[in-house]
């Protein structure tokens, strides 16, 4: 299913995403992340440390949600944002020469996208030893602008 333009504008035009994971006891955890949205696969990617709480949570419970929004402290009618819900997969980690070709390709592509999007902040910092790429397979997206809502269900099989 096609993602509406207003959702794409938010996903492409903003730098911070807020990822919510929860552990097996349903205790939520929330962190800001840098992310990229890949229009072709309709997935969201972010890079994180494999020791982080969100990675631990994803191992226990793959359901995640991420919110990307524009906030206006004066006029609530200008508040605009997207929340995507789905399941997360963590790319396997290991010495580069043991990784399958498609994982390597993914690393290269995602890393290049990150570099172009966050040029100002990450400069030429390479992926760290403990960094893993998390991909969110989006199942549902909600969009809001002021009091108006819109939602789409993305076909998981596509």
């Amino acid at each position: 299913m096609k993602v509406p333009d207003e959702m794409l504008n938010i996903l492409y035009g903003n730098y911070f995403g807020y990822v919510c994971t929860s552990d097996r006891h349903d205790m939520p955890h929330l962190t800001p992340v840098f992310f990229v949205y890949d229009g072709q696969s309709q997935k969201i990617f972010f890079i994180t440390n494999d020791k982080s709480k969100k990675v631990k949570n994803i191992m226990e419970n793959p359901n995640v949600s991420i919110t990307v929004d524009i906030r206006d402290p004066v006029n609530p009618f200008n508040n605009e944002g997207v929340m995507a819900q789905g399941t997360a997969t963590i790319t396997e980690k290991g010495p580069i020469y043991f990784l399958p070709e498609e994982t390597l390709q993914l690393y290269r592509d995602i890393y290049m996208e990150f570099k172009s999007k966050y040029q100002a902040v990450i400069e030429n910092r390479p992926l760290g030893e403990n960094d893993v790429i998390v991909q969110i397979n989006i199942e549902k997206m909600v969009y809001w602008r002021g009091p108006h809502f819109k939602s789409v269900n993305l076909n998981k099989g596509e």
Binding site: R71, N75, N79
Partner: protein, 408 residues
């Protein structure tokens, strides 16, 4: 060294009781109840043996009860302060160590006020010719009875002294800690749990003051002593109310986090039900102690929170020009959802939160009110807007790339 001073935090009374069987064999609450029965049995037996009137027995029992209730309250100080975690501020830590040091001093200063009360009182009773002895024990009481009564009087005086001693020290530490809290930098603070302990000790002492009223019927024959008890009650109660209030005004968040929470406009709230998570931005207010947000009765997050009260609540400062300036604080814990049932007890709290919203987001409130809005956006409190309080049990703070866990 630290361990040692903590183990030694005991008063004479605790030390003695801890050595005499059977009291030494049971936990302190049970040992106090045991003491109550022990004293009551001796008192009543003596009363029967020496053929005292039932009124005398009643007065004796009341005095024993007061002494035991006082023990129960005052003896919580030791165990509570023993489990006290060190504040994350050097000055506040030093202050609390000093407070504990004086309270449980090796020279047992805590017994001094008791002695100062006991001696004049005994002189007054036996030599000054107060009519009280006759009122309690009749004419020519036996020496055994006199000894037992003196023991009871010592018990009462010692604890009255403790009450005065601990109250004055409590007020001193509350005022000092509040002043020191204003000079905190960065992440210095005394954790919330510890501040709550201090406040609870003060509230215990308020009860301590009120319990002294039970002594009035026992002393009713003597106007002078009645006045003294009333003065004591007002003194202890007042000092501890002020102390508890002062301590409740000490910020439980370190200045870095306090400022971030105080100055930001938006937060993100993450909820989870049956493993499925949900995250939305929202506006919130902070009154210096508590964090509140509003949610529409129709909102998905409210439905989730009704199923699972656990939440993650994030406030951040984002700066794309310098990521080392980025700051975020994550509170995880539970929510308290205010409903109709809370109006009688928490009306002022709810009103205060509402006024904070009006002050912090005047434009929001205005825009919400004037337009034709879907039900989800209407502002009527309780009916369409629900007040929610964040009750954190864990705090994580990020500064740049550094992650710091802050004790609550």
């Amino acid at each position: 060294m630290h361990e040692k001073t903590h183990k030694e935090m005991k008063w004479i009374y605790e030390e003695i009781v801890a050595r005499i069987p059977p009291f030494s064999l049971v936990s302190y609450q049970y040992s106090i109840i045991l003491q109550l029965f022990f004293l009551l049995i001796i008192g009543i037996s003596l009363g029967i043996i020496f053929d005292l009137s039932s009124v005398s027995l009643l007065y004796g029992s009341i005095s024993i009860l007061v002494a035991v209730l006082w023990s129960l309250l005052i003896l919580q100080l030791g165990p509570t302060l023993r489990k006290f975690r060190a504040p994350l501020s050097r000055d506040e830590n030093e202050l609390l160590e000093r407070y504990k040091g004086i309270l449980f001093h090796r020279n047992h200063y805590e017994a001094v006020p008791g002695i100062v009360i006991f001696i004049p009182f005994m002189l007054y009773l036996f030599y000054y010719g107060s009519a009280l002895l006759k009122f309690w024990l009749g004419e020519n009481p036996s020496i055994i009875l006199l000894l037992f009564v003196s023991l009871l009087i010592w018990d009462i005086c010692y604890r009255m002294g403790l009450g005065i001693w601990t109250s004055i020290l409590a007020l001193w530490r509350s005022i000092r800690i509040r002043n020191l809290a204003e000079k905190r930098t960065e992440l210095e603070h005394t954790p919330y749990t510890e501040l709550r302990y201090l406040r609870r000790l003060d509230i215990n002492n308020v009860l301590f003051g009120i319990i002294s009223l039970f002594l009035l019927p026992v002393l009713q024959q003597d106007q002078f002593l009645v006045t003294i008890i009333l003065v004591f009650m007002v003194f202890v109660t007042l000092i501890n109310v002020i102390s508890a209030y002062t301590v409740s005004k000490v910020p439980w968040l370190p200045p870095d986090i306090y400022n971030l929470v105080n100055e930001s406009s938006f937060a993100y709230v993450g909820t989870s039900s049956k493993g499925v998570t949900h995250v939305t931005p929202l506006v919130y207010v902070f009154d210096g102690q508590k964090i509140f947000f509003n949610t529409s009765k129709e909102a998905k997050k409210l439905k989730i929170m009704h199923q699972n009260k656990k939440i993650a609540f994030l406030i951040d400062k984002r700066d794309m020009s310098n990521i080392y300036e980025n700051k975020a604080v994550l509170f995880t814990g539970e929510v308290k959802i205010y409903g109709l049932m809370d109006i009688p007890y928490r009306f002022l709290q709810m009103l205060k939160a509402r006024n904070l919203f009006l002050k912090k987001y005047p434009e929001y409130t205005r825009k919400y009110s004037i337009s034709e809005l879907p039900r989800a956006w209407q502002l009527t409190p309780i009916i369409s807007r629900i007040l929610v309080e964040v009750k954190p049990s864990k705090i994580i703070y990020w500064r740049g790339a550094k992650q710091i866990s802050v004790p609550v």
